[in-house]
């Protein structure tokens, strides 16, 4: 399969619920065979956008194309998509096998062939032999597998998943994340996942669209999204980022001169700056793991700035330090991997923090 070909295209999609403007000009392309996530806070329109693909929600203007064909006037039951619902929507009065085989009812194949497909689908999601059981008696994780098998048995071009893991507890959720990635690679179907959990999106997706208030704020692969968020808002939503006030003093030949209190003057590459200058006060952002506390005798790779530890949060494998850098008003959060033989530092310890202009992002 050509993974570059577009599978779903949104062309300036708007959606109104009465007066409420739920989708505000969505333009994006989801490629065939990719694991795509819609990520954003609750109420930003992720589900609405997903439902415009499924055909449950009409759009007010614009166009949704699937595999090059406009979906205008194509009802949900005629679209090449299937959905895993947030509540799983398992039919409680049917058996597991009847649930999984539900979509085959209109299929011309013989009963024996259908039974075989159902059995295969169940095996694929790790529920071999569960067919005759009552669907309502399944646990949350099992229901989710039934919903997956039921949606995948029709071999849709696109599988839509609306927060499929949010109802599961942490252990099962993490296990299902891995299984879903494997499954997607195995079947090669385009997956579109809705989630409000940034970690889940980063772990699972080939590409992610971050949404706020009915708009896509940034669409990128997980690494770009994490390392080069295009706005403070995206940076804040995905992981933790330290923001420090800064000012741009010059700009030439693809380089930008920046000055920040406490850190002095330095130069970054133009690619490190978020897209559109909004004017006003600029700021720079550091991820906690790009800052390092230097122990006795260690020398920084790039630059160092002295500071005082104000807070220590111990996580077992990691320790988070809030460090007040000299000359900087707000403390910065630094995450350090705990290494054998290196003690966790105490509050009040004077320390040196290593940092590098190459690791920061400039917002302006």
């Amino acid at each position: 399969m050509n993974t570059r070909a577009p599978m779903i295209e949104f062309q300036d999609v708007h959606k109104y619920y009465g007066e409420y403007h739920a989708l505000r000009g969505i333009t994006a392309t989801i490629r065939a065979g990719e694991f795509f996530s819609l990520l954003g806070p609750s109420g930003c329109g992720k589900t609405t956008l997903l439902r415009t693909i499924a055909g449950f929600e009409g759009i007010s203007s614009g166009a949704v194309l699937i595999d090059g064909k406009s979906m205008e006037n194509v009802p949900a039951n005629k679209r090449p998509t299937n959905m895993v619902f947030q509540s799983y929507a398992i039919f409680p009065h049917l058996t597991v096998a009847q649930n999984v085989g539900f979509g085959l009812r209109r299929d011309a194949r013989s009963k024996a062939e259908k039974d075989k497909l159902v059995e295969e689908a169940l095996e694929m999601v790790g529920l071999k032999g569960y067919g005759p059981r009552a669907a309502h008696a399944m646990s949350g994780g099992q229901r989710q597998r039934v919903a997956l098998a039921r949606a995948l048995i029709l071999k849709p071009k696109v599988l839509l998943l609306d927060e499929p893991l949010s109802a599961l507890d942490k252990k099962i959720r993490e296990q299902m994340q891995v299984e879903l990635i494997k499954l997607q690679r195995e079947v090669g179907i385009t997956f579109v996942l809705v989630t409000h959990d940034q970690e889940e999106a980063l772990v699972m997706s080939d590409r992610i669209a971050v949404m706020f208030e009915g708009e896509i704020a940034q669409l990128a692969d997980p690494e770009t999204l994490y390392r080069r968020p295009n706005s403070r808002r995206v940076a804040d939503f995905i992981g933790v980022m330290n923001f420090l006030p800064a000012s741009v003093t010059g700009e030439a030949n693809g380089h930008i001169q920046v000055e920040a209190a406490g850190l002095g003057a330095f130069e970054i590459e133009a690619a490190q700056a978020s897209a559109a200058p909004a004017g006003g006060q600029a700021s720079i952002g550091f991820r906690p793991e790009t800052l390092t506390i230097l122990y006795e005798g260690q020398t920084p790779l790039d630059r160092e700035t002295p500071g005082t530890i104000e807070e220590v949060v111990y996580y077992g494998d990691m320790t988070y330090y809030d460090v007040k850098l000299d000359g900087v008003d707000v403390p910065v959060r630094i995450s350090m991997r705990n290494v054998f033989g290196r003690p966790v530092l105490d509050i009040g310890t004077r320390t040196r923090v290593a940092w590098s202009p190459g690791a920061l992002v400039l917002f302006r």
Binding site: A54, F56, A76, N77, T81, N82, M83, F85, Q86, S87, A89, F91, P92, H93, F102, G103, R105, R106, A134, H136, A137, R150, A151, L154
Partner: protein, 268 residues
């Protein structure tokens, strides 16, 4: 809870409720026309007299037709209204739903009277059809109330899932919605049937010359000689109600068990 007075109250309440009903079979088999103790002897005369009575037979047939039709029609209307009320929002929904539920609190004598006037004015002949019309009118609010609960507890995404898997709107309703609200539908039919079966005022106004069970019984109460036969009739009706309720409750519980839904209270 250990207070004896509370226990006495509970027993008194139950006695008040059921003692009169227990008297029905006692006097239905009593060999005497006077409803009083001491009992005389055992007889089946009143039952044979009951089965031989042609007018009563007609009344029973009429009542069954009316109650059956009312149960089906009122429940069908209830399904439409409850589904619309729980699924869609449309302008004026509140007032419309309110108006539909209003007959619940309107005095039946007003409904019966005004219906009679309208029917006479537009020249429709009174028959059991007109009684069905009136009964559907008063039973529908009850069926809506019951079915609203059934539809409201139905996860909307179940229907969407069936539609998403290729079914049409109608087959989705038949395959998913209907089986899941079946317990509610059974309760609804049962209530509508019962309301219609013992409804007197509207039947009295709108039946024309046709007897129904309540109007026939009322007309016979004037003749003391007929009272033991009415007792026999009452015994049969109580028996019928118990059988009906048992069947309905059985089907309802089976439906609940099949879907694993929580039992929110039935009739038994």
């Amino acid at each position: 809870m250990k207070l004896p007075s509370l226990r006495i109250y509970a027993f008194a309440y139950l006695a008040f409720l059921y003692a009169p009903i227990l008297l029905l079979p006692i006097f239905a088999f009593n060999d005497g026309t006077i409803i009083a103790f001491p009992l005389k002897g055992f007889t089946l005369d009143w039952f044979s007299q009951m089965f031989a009575n042609d007018t009563l037979g007609r009344a029973v047939r009429n009542s069954m037709i009316i109650a059956g039709s009312t149960a089906v029609l009122a429940t069908a209307f209830g399904i439409f209204a409850a589904r619309a009320g729980t699924r869609f929002s449309f302008p004026g929904k509140g007032p419309i739903m309110g108006l539909i539920m209003l007959p619940l609190v309107l005095p039946e004598i007003m409904i019966g009277g005004s219906l009679l006037l309208v029917l006479l004015a537009i020249g429709i002949e009174l028959s059991i059809l007109t009684v069905i019309l009136g009964h559907v009118l008063i039973a529908t609010p009850y069926t809506i109330a019951i079915l609203n609960t059934a539809f409201a507890s139905l996860d909307r995404s179940l229907e969407e899932a069936a539609y998403d898997l290729g079914e049409g709107k109608l087959s989705t309703f038949r395959l998913i919605t209907l089986p899941l609200v079946l317990p509610g539908i059974i309760s609804s039919m049962l209530i509508a049937f019962t309301i219609s079966l013992d409804e007197f005022i509207i039947a009295f106004f709108l039946a024309g010359n046709e007897p129904t069970l309540p109007t026939y019984i009322f007309s016979q109460l004037r003749f003391p000689k007929q009272i033991p036969m009415i007792m026999a009739l009452g015994t049969c009706l109580v028996l019928l109600s118990i059988i009906l309720l048992t069947i309905a409750e059985y089907v309802r519980r089976r439906g609940l068990k099949k879907t694993g839904a929580k039992d929110t209270g039935g009739f038994l």
